[in-house]
């Protein structure tokens, strides 16, 4: 029996409608808002604004600072990738207690960000635990106002993000390594490859598909999933030095009641993230080709 050409679409229609309602409607509304002076009241009309909201955000130094901070957060990604590869390679050799290490390293990833934020917020106060330990160890000169100075606040947040996100990378890499044919490693060892050479010529190439996924997911995280860290640890301060684009959007919507401006920033962010998603798809295909070649 042959199905008519429209039949698959008919069967898929309920799911397409659901996806449309869940994803398309908010996105279309966001784009619509970004082109409007959105009124907060039914008694005051919403007016068409054209591209003025976009012109505004790109002329706003705070938005530029926010985007700049997102880009600085990208520095976390290579650090995460390198650490994930190294730690997973070590754990893959099953040193004594490797199961415990694996669990301990994954725990930060499952902790909620507000809890992590509050704990590190206290730890990194000028007179907090971290600096107290440094002072007692005779390293008082290294003590900084980690979250209270414009110079250190963002790097401190980056440290916390790396601490929390690393577990995900390690588990991804370990899962990938577990599916690699053991003979590859054995053959390299028979050929006299040491740990470092094994890592460089066998482990890393085999990890590429997982790494490609991890890198792009983390890039997206640095762009659009860091609000909670900033909100809990610094509220964008001091002096707006840790404002990221999500926090800018939050301020526009919730504090300044300019939904059009917030939406324009949201559309910009969505555009950039979409590019990263395309990059992820492309990198995933390329990495798979390299790994399985």
């Amino acid at each position: 029996m042959r199905l008519s050409r429209g039949a698959p679409w008919l069967y898929a229609a309920p799911m397409l409608a659901l996806i449309g309602a869940v994803f398309a409607y908010p996105v279309v509304t966001l784009v619509k808002y970004s082109l409007e002076n959105v009124s907060t009241s039914p008694y005051v009309p919403t007016t068409y604004a054209g591209l003025s909201n976009f012109r505004y955000i790109f002329s706003d130094s705070l938005f530029r600072t926010a985007l700049g901070n997102n880009i600085k957060l990208f520095l976390c990604v290579p650090i995460l990738a390198v650490l994930a590869v190294l730690v997973s390679a070590i754990l893959f050799d099953r040193p004594r207690g490797w199961r415990a290490y694996r669990t301990v390293l994954f725990v930060p990833y499952i902790l909620s960000i507000p809890v992590v934020g509050v704990v590190f917020g206290t730890l990194f106060q000028l007179n907090g635990t971290a600096n107290t330990i440094l002072r007692h160890a005779g390293l008082g000169a290294l003590a900084q106002d980690w979250l209270g100075s414009t110079a250190w606040a963002l790097p401190t947040i980056m440290f916390v993000i790396v601490w929390k996100e690393l577990g995900f990378g390690i588990i991804l890499c370990l899962a990938r390594l577990a599916s690699v044919d053991e003979q590859l490693f054995e053959a390299a060892k028979v050929d006299g490859a040491g740990w470092w050479r094994l890592l460089r010529h066998v482990t890393v190439p085999q990890l590429l598909p997982a790494l490609a996924f991890y890198v792009v997911v983390e890039l997206i995280t640095m762009l659009s999933w860091v609000f909670a860290y900033v909100y809990v640890m610094t509220l964008g301060g001091p002096q707006n030095s840790t404002v990221v684009s999500e926090y800018y959007i939050y301020q526009a919507f919730f504090q300044n009641s300019v939904a059009g401006v917030g939406a324009a920033a949201g559309v910009t962010l969505l555009g950039v993230v979409s590019l990263f998603i395309l990059l992820r798809v492309w990198m995933g295909r390329r990495a798979a080709l390299v790994a399985y070649d």
Binding site: S39, T40, S41, P42, Y43, V44, Y56, D60, S61, L62, G121, F124, Q125, L126, N127, G128, D145, W146, L147, G148, S149, T150, T234, L235, G237, P238, Q239, N240, Q251, F253, F254, Q255, N256, S257, V258, V261
Partner: protein, 454 residues
């Protein structure tokens, strides 16, 4: 002649009868249709009111008081049921805007004074007090003046937040200062801070990580000193220059005070700063809403605490004053039971309820029907005396939130916790207001109308 005469007499009699009927009808309307405390709720049939507010987040202990108040009101008016919904403070304004857009949700809601309430009024989301309360209900609440716009008032304050400087008498004594005569002038305040520092304690503590400390200090201690009326401040929002020597003068004073604050202002929250004052590691703190409860807790713990007005440096008549703000309720424009909501608002202001409010929360009721002789502590009596002298309101309620969040928050973190200069601070305010003016043309028109109402 007789016939026209009779006709004229009949016409006069008819007119007199009509006038009498009109007068009777008018009298009947007044007695059964007055507003607020005079409103006859029974004629509305079964009514359910929904009240949105922030509860204990704003004033610890007030939820219990509200529960009691509702029970008493419902007992008095069995046809009325009042439901309360507690919302989060962070997203409060957005919650109100969403409700307004849908024209559903609350019949009455809590709001802060000044721009917070007026923005809802400007959006058409609320009705003025005059539509739901009697003139007598309004005349006893001086803080309604904070929302006077176009001849009406737009928020009905229930209690007053006060912003004194609170100090630890034992630490004053240790530093060789007279604990019963705190400094009143700027020079004396700097001198006292110096002595306190020399005695080994932190003279003033504040936490600016969450920003609010910047708003409270800036608004209640520094900015008010420039003014004798907030007309000037609202005018600043409209077209003023925030880099002018007048505005910059208070930032210069703030910079002078920097050496006397704790060294970690940016890494602790306002609450953590308050905690340090409470545990006796700092001599002074700039008071905040709920200061009465802080003082009561410390007194219970055996600490002797005093209050003072912020030291005077400015030449405005508001300089020598204790700043306060009255926060309360607004009735929404879509409520089907506006008059009943007004009646409940008036009930919250009955003397018995006001006395209970003070007894249960320690906050000063915002109504002259509350007798200040209820106050027992010396600090409360002192603050009430200053409030009686002058009703000076909270300056941050007269400018947009943006100027607060990206102005006050940033400048205080920069000056007290960073390396920001006075000129950079002034420029920060100017940049923020320039951006705000560009984005809020409609609000700017409302500010213009507001200036003429002040």
């Amino acid at each position: 002649m007789k016939r026209p005469m009779r006709t004229a007499l009949a016409t006069i009699a008819l007119c007199a009868l009509a006038a009498l009927l009109f007068a009777v009808a008018a009298t009947a309307r007044t007695s059964s249709g007055g507003l607020g405390s005079q409103y006859d709720v029974s004629k509305d049939g079964k009514v359910t009111l929904t009240l949105w507010w922030l509860g204990d987040q704003e004033v610890p202990g007030i939820e219990k008081w509200m529960k009691e108040t509702i029970a008493k009101y419902q007992a008095l008016h069995p046809n009325v049921t009042i439901k309360t919904v507690i919302d989060p403070t962070d997203t409060w304004t957005q919650t109100q805007q969403t409700a307004c857009k849908a024209k559903s949700g609350a019949d009455l809601w809590y709001n802060w004074s000044g721009t917070w309430s007026l923005e809802q009024a400007w959006s058409g989301c609320t009705v003025p007090n005059e539509v739901v309360l009697s003139p007598a209900d309004i005349s006893t609440v001086p803080n309604v003046g904070e929302t006077r716009w176009q001849g009406k008032t737009w928020d009905y304050p229930l209690y007053r937040f006060v912003y004194p400087v609170v100090y630890n008498k034992a630490l004053f004594k240790k530093a060789g200062l007279d604990p019963n005569r705190p400094p009143t002038t700027w020079a004396a305040f700097l001198g006292a801070s110096q002595k306190l520092k020399a005695s080994g304690v932190t003279p003033i503590v504040v936490g600016l990580k969450d920003g609010f400390g910047g708003e409270i200090l800036g608004s209640a201690t520094f900015q008010k000193q420039l003014y004798s009326s907030y007309k000037g401040l609202v005018q600043m929002v409209i077209n003023g220059n925030f880099t002018s020597p007048t505005w910059t003068s208070w930032i210069t004073k703030l910079a002078q005070l920097k050496p006397y604050f704790n060294n970690d202002v940016n890494s602790i929250t306002f609450g953590e700063g308050l905690g340090r004052f409470q545990n006796g590691t700092a001599a002074m703190v700039f008071g905040t809403p709920g200061v009465q409860a802080t003082i009561a807790d410390m007194t219970k713990a055996g600490k002797q605490v005093g209050v003072m007005k912020p030291p005077v440096f400015g030449s405005g008549s508001y300089a020598n004053s204790l700043v306060n703000t009255g926060n309360g309720f607004q009735v929404t424009s879509w409520s089907k039971h506006k008059e009943v909501a007004g009646s409940f608002m008036a009930f919250m202001h009955t003397t018995e309820r006001l006395n209970a409010l003070y007894a249960q929360t320690g906050n000063f009721p915002a109504d002259t029907r509350w007798n200040p002789s209820q106050a027992k502590s010396a600090t409360d009596r002192a603050m009430l005396g200053w409030l009686k002298d002058k009703n000076v309101n909270y300056p941050a309620n007269y400018y947009p939130t943006d100027l607060d969040v990206n102005g006050n928050f940033v400048v205080f973190q920069g000056i007290l916790g960073g390396k920001m200069t006075v000129a950079q601070a002034a420029k920060t305010y100017q940049d923020v207001i320039t951006k705000w003016r560009k984005l809020h043309a409609a609000d700017l028109r409302n500010y213009l109308a507001w200036v003429s109402s002040l």
